[in-house]
Subunit: 298 residues, 2 copies
């Protein structure tokens, strides 16, 4: 995985690595209970932009981590992300029928299976990460705590809960920011931290710089999501467009308007770049990912 | 926690320890997001027989583990168990309104909150266990894998999936056994193994003996559950009685009849006792727990 490869080349290499790792770390197709395992594989394999795995690998260039460690950590994060999408799409949450251009799990299978797929994927994520044979055990425990903290009520689940309580409520920009910091930001930040922890010792100042980068990129991700939800069509997004407005959910676009939201995304991109200056060329992939996240069309 | 105390005295001491640990290891009441945290505490605190924590502490007498380690491991297992009950009670699964004598979470709160409570409790369980400051890191990773393996598709979630596929189907006793080994047996066995791993090194022969004990107790637990479901009333059980028969689910009672089911429970109790012989007096609490599980009335 050359440092000098084009960004697209690097990204494709990472995506192949991650797909291969997911393939290996998911229960094999056909093993008992076959329907659940099939549904887990349907959920995770062959789709998605793999933004979180890309962040793991990009941060791994800062820490000089081994590719096998990064692939395992990336697979674990992606399983957490995938489970959250399955549960989020269920009728009692967003009730969505389309995800990554395919029927959602409760449509393709049934609600009970969707519930179990999510539950089993979360357990699988922790099992996969805890099984790493390379990282020193104490460091691996720190990585597990980063992942668990980002997934739980102080992270992703907490953000979902705030989101539920926000429907039809008028939020300030600060409140919206807080919700997204938990709902999507926490796992994006965890991805960066997992990559950073996977290699050499990272100094406190470096951790702080990566946290600044992660916070900026996490927010930018959400601002762009809101812009795309308001402007792109479902076919491009691979999921139902315009659903936030339809659900009367507060978004950056509803609070700031479209132009100010786009400007905010660019400001956040600048902050992300600035935070990476100390890392020089080792921060290149993280810098390029910030660009991707802000400039993406889906 | 004296080895010579009465079983009831020992049990009450453990239950107080575990309640205290759960209280400390759950997110504090009133912290943001307050409604989710309140629902997590509603789910976990102040109820249940705490069979799994009791197994952790009883096995901890075999390994000579520290009480603080056992309390943490017991809290983690109980959080996994509690989350599974919340999800299992949801409308898309068993659709149950009563649990531990209280309204289930999706009734007391709402379905989306129940979903998030379960998801957040699972993450919390792994976070709590990974944060143990006493157990050597490599051993702690082994404990995390025991818990994750028992929770995932090769354990509890897998058993739930087989259960879903079994409604209205005629199972053999062997198939029913396999379902319960995963659905409830895996987490009961994990409880024993966590207690065993929490202290001194356990020899392979000791691990095998504890596995034999766990398998017998796990099955006995389910056989007795089926007997109680067919014979006790809802008020005594603290949950809806007779629902397996109503749902046309295969049970030990439906396959073997009531008398043979009761006899099977006694046979399994004998097997559990026999497996503990090598441990002498250190196996006392495990032996007493096997008796409790077989003789319980609710």
């Amino acid at each position: 995985m050359s440092m000098t490869a084009s960004f697209d080349g690097w990204m494709q290499t990472v995506q192949v690595h991650v797909e291969d790792a997911l393939e290996r770390f998911l229960p094999a197709a056909g093993t008992d209970p076959a329907r659940l395992h099939e549904a887990m594989r349907y959920t995770v394999l062959g789709g998605g932009k793999r933004i979180r795995p890309l962040l793991v690998f990009a941060a791994g260039q800062v820490s000089g981590a081994e590719l096998d460690v990064l692939a395992r950590a990336a697979a674990a994060v992606e399983m957490i992300h995938a489970y959250s999408l399955v549960h989020d799409d269920m009728p009692c949450m967003d009730d969505d029928a389309l995800r990554r251009g395919k029927p959602t799990v409760h449509i393709a299978y049934d609600e009970a299976t969707a519930l179990l797929v999510g539950d089993a994927l979360q357990a699988q994520a922790f099992d996969v990460l805890a099984a790493d044979p390379i990282v020193p055990p104490a460091r691996l425990l720190a990585m597990l705590r980063v992942l668990a903290g980002a997934a739980g009520s102080g992270g992703m689940c907490g953000g979902q809960a705030i989101d539920l309580d926000s429907v039809g409520v008028s939020l300030t920009q600060a409140q919206l920011e807080r919700m997204h910091q938990l709902k999507t930001g926490a796992l994006l930040k965890a991805s960066v931290m997992l990559g950073a922890l996977a290699g050499r010792d990272i100094a406190d100042t470096e951790q702080a710089a990566l946290a600044t980068y992660s916070n900026a990129v996490g927010l930018a991700f959400q601002v762009v999501d809101d812009v795309l939800d308001a402007t792109a069509d479902s076919a491009t997004l691979g999921k139902t467009a315009g659903k936030d407005a339809a659900a009367n959910k507060p978004t950056y676009v509803s609070i700031l308007g479209l132009d100010a939201s786009r400007a905010l995304a660019q400001t956040l991109r600048g902050q992300a770049h600035e935070a990476l200056i100390p890392f020089g060329e080792q921060g290149r992939r993280l810098r390029e990912l910030a660009d991707l996240i802000v400039q993406r069309k889906a």
